[in-house]
């Protein structure tokens, strides 16, 4: 007869196990999942306190808060997965205020029946991304919904950070004459995701550009503290993001098509699918707008950082009562670069 060991808890089967309703019930199964998975992976002094909230020290200055929910499909894609994406997405939203991100929170919505092996892979990727970014995940929440009521896993993350003194970055600060810069090639994430969609799969070497941009932002703000606007062109791509800024700042924009960096393989995939790379999502690129006289210093700072190597000046801000974004085409004509109409591709992030 086998001996029953006192206090023994059978470890979670991360090889073959599945998420079940008890993992979100608030009982022992949930506590065990938190202990063996989340705490283990995200481990930090605040999380270890095991409270329903985190009490964290905050440096002086203005606090920045951003939140982002991630529903990307498929969950794993070339160059990343929903885990690291959920860290990068929110870190970037905080960083686009010119801020230094400090802490993250994470909320998981799991679907009953989701493989625990996949969940562990996602959580570990998230932990690695947070560690690499130097931004700890200090509190979190887990819920489970019945099978068919979710799609594997959804992750919400919220981030807080502080803006250094003297930095005033906002989407309404673009002024006529300003230079428009981008940190690298456009459309990589969108096309990488698209290449995996069930009715569309094609062979490609394109990888998502998902990355945390706060290091790049710190270098940029260090070189040009007076930078006017920063924004990461995620859903809707470069085109939609520039239209947002044009509307906020009540100005127009003029772009040079030939100056916009696009990988040849991304251009080719878009050509095949009838898409426009300017509308494809990015997860590791930013747009910067600054006074014309600061453009070369800012561009230099961007190119000096590994995530800004392919940075380029792509156009300028102009006066325009209609707030149109226009572009001189490589062909020699001109056209508008309008808001994205409808949906180019759903659930990209």
């Amino acid at each position: 007869m086998s001996e029953v060991r006192k206090g023994y808890v059978r470890p979670i089967d991360f090889k073959r196990g599945l998420v079940d309703m008890s993992h979100g019930s608030g009982g022992r199964a949930m506590a065990q999942l938190i202990d063996e998975l989340f705490l283990e992976a995200f481990d930090n002094e605040w999380l270890r306190e095991m409270n329903d909230q985190a009490r964290v020290p905050v440096p002086a200055g203005r606090l920045v808060v951003a939140t982002d929910s991630h529903v990307v499909s498929p969950l794993f894609f070339p160059g990343g997965d929903i885990g690291c994406l959920s860290v990068h997405g929110t870190v970037n939203d905080v960083a686009m205020a010119g801020a230094r991100p400090l802490y993250l929170t994470s909320g998981f919505i799991l679907e009953e029946g989701f493989p625990l092996a996949d969940l562990r892979r996602i959580v570990e990727s998230m932990a690695a991304a947070a560690r690499e970014a130097g931004v700890p995940i200090v509190t979190g929440d887990t819920k489970v919904v019945e099978k068919g009521k979710g799609d594997g896993v959804f992750i919400n993350t919220t981030g807080v950070g502080v803006v250094p003194e003297g930095v005033e970055v906002s989407g309404d600060r673009a002024r006529p004459g300003d230079a428009i810069l981008v940190s690298g090639t456009m459309g990589d994430h969108g096309v990488a995701i698209m290449s995996l969609r069930e009715n569309l799969s094609f062979e490609t070497t394109i990888r998502s550009d998902t990355a945390a941009l706060h290091g790049l932002v710190a270098a940029m703000v260090g070189a040009v503290p007076s930078v006017h606007c920063l924004r990461d062109p995620t859903r809707g791509g470069l085109a939609t993001t520039l239209n947002e800024i044009a509307r906020q700042s009540r100005c127009g924009m003029r772009l040079e098509e030939t100056a916009i960096p696009v990988r040849p393989e991304v251009a080719a995939a878009c050509e095949l699918l009838g898409l426009d790379p300017l509308y494809c999502a990015n997860e590791g690129k930013l747009i910067a707008i600054c006074a014309a006289q600061d453009a070369s210093a800012l561009l230099g700072a961007m190119r000096g950082h590994p995530l800004g190597r392919d940075a380029a000046k792509i156009g300028e801000v102009v006066e325009d009562p209609h707030h149109f974004v226009q572009m001189r085409t490589g062909f020699g004509g001109s056209r508008m670069v309008d808001w994205l109409a409808g949906e180019q591709l759903p659930r990209i992030c």
Binding site: N199, L200, T258, P264, A267, A268, E271, G274, H322, F324, Q326, R328, T329, G330, F331, G332, G333, S334, R335, M336, D338, A341, G342
Partner: protein, 379 residues
């Protein structure tokens, strides 16, 4: 990108533009209709008109398959997708462009989908066939639309379904024919007697012509004395075709010329034509948005393939539904009006909330002008 960038080269474009500027007679205006939505899109997207002299005017034609689909046919598709009386639930497979076309009673395929109908976007007819094979419990209907370019793939899947003896696959056929539409425009009172639409020549279809060849256009050149230059969908193709049209007009010629010789022959694609002839037959007439009922302008499945014809398998009745009164899509598709002549253009009718079909498809004249060119009319 090889084989693409060459056809968008700015230096070459300037050279052709300079030749056109030199060739045009300043004492007259040249009106050319680009039949295809693909050309309309290229002209707007690359700003081709910026390279043309002021007296070369491009008139948009009806060659956008989504635009010419009348409301009644969309209503029929929605009815099919939402029918609940059959043994098997229906899955309607459609190209993405048709999803947002406004139908009757404020409906669209997109809205029907949101209400629970199983409507799926596919990239090819073969995807629809695959769904039928994978899901034998569902009645899979392929909403087939388009000109001669998309017809052979539909024919192919019908033949494959027949070979497999698939009991749950049908095609709702809306394939239409280019030459019939061109004849209809040339016969219209606006062109023939009223003189409200001037057409000095046609930029002929690109992809359609790879299938049907250049031969079918010879009739228009001979009978109506209209030059036709078949052109590819790249901006340099269009620019070069315009130069060729200007020269024909200047020299008083009316011929079919082929700028798109890298893909189009006089005879076209014999195998594709044979495939289409095997599966389809002419309809006596068919309703087009804007053009009304056009004789012998569309296809339906032959009797031998009747079991794969959704219109024969399901109780469907042909409907004719008038367009929204404020919408000028009809006149725009005939070349009688420009998008900016429409009262609702850019106000209540936008790509987000389209009133008419020309604002839905990226090949539609209104969507092209709204998306790429509306700064011109705003200035």
């Amino acid at each position: 990108m090889k084989y693409v960038d060459e056809f968008r080269d700015g230096t070459l474009a300037r050279a052709i533009a300079a030749r056109i500027a030199k060739a045009v007679d300043p004492g007259r205006t040249y009106h050319f209709m680009e039949f295809c939505g693909g050309h309309t899109h290229a002209i707007s997207r690359y700003g081709v008109q910026d390279l043309l002299p002021g007296n070369v005017v491009m008139v948009h034609g009806p060659g956008c398959p989504v635009c010419v689909l009348p409301i009644g046919r969309i209503d029929m598709a929605i009815e099919l997708a939402t029918r609940a009386d059959g043994d098997r639930p229906v899955t309607l497979c459609t190209y993405a462009d048709t999803m947002r076309v406004p139908a009757s009673n404020g409906m669209s395929l997109m809205k029907a989908k949101a209400k629970g109908a199983d409507i799926r976007m596919v990239y090819s007819a073969a995807d629809a066939l695959r769904i039928a094979r994978d899901e034998p419990g569902r009645e899979v209907v392929f909403f087939a639309i388009g000109f001669e370019t998309t017809t052979p793939p539909t024919a192919l899947v019908v033949r494959e379904a027949a070979a497999l003896g698939l009991p749950n696959f049908t095609v709702f056929c809306n394939h239409v024919l280019t030459p019939a539409a061109i004849s209809h425009i040339l016969e219209s009172p606006e062109v023939r007697s009223l003189g409200t639409v001037v057409i000095d020549g046609f930029v002929g279809p690109a992809h359609v012509s790879t299938i049907i060849g250049s031969q079918p256009y010879e009739y228009f050149a001979e009978e109506y004395r209209k030059p036709v230059v078949i052109a590819g969908f790249e901006p340099l193709d269009v620019l070069q075709a315009i130069e060729m049209l200007v020269r024909q007009v200047n020299e008083g010629r009316a011929e079919v010329e082929n700028e798109f010789s890298r893909a189009v022959t006089r005879e076209g694609n014999a195998r594709a034509k044979a495939l289409v002839a095997d599966v389809f037959e002419l309809r006596r007439d068919f309703e087009w948005r804007g053009l009304g009922r056009v004789p012998y302008s569309a296809l339906r499945l032959k009797e031998a393939y009747a079991t794969f014809d959704a219109e024969r398998r399901f109780p469907m009745s042909e409907k004719s539904v008038p367009d929204n009164k404020a919408c000028e899509c009809g006149a725009i598709l005939r070349g009688v009006k420009k998008p900016t002549d429409c009262k609702v253009f850019g106000t209540v009718c936008t790509p987000e909330t389209p009133i008419g079909s020309c604002m839905v498809s990226s090949e539609g004249a209104c969507a092209a002008h709204y998306t790429y060119g509306r700064y011109r009319s705003a200035a």
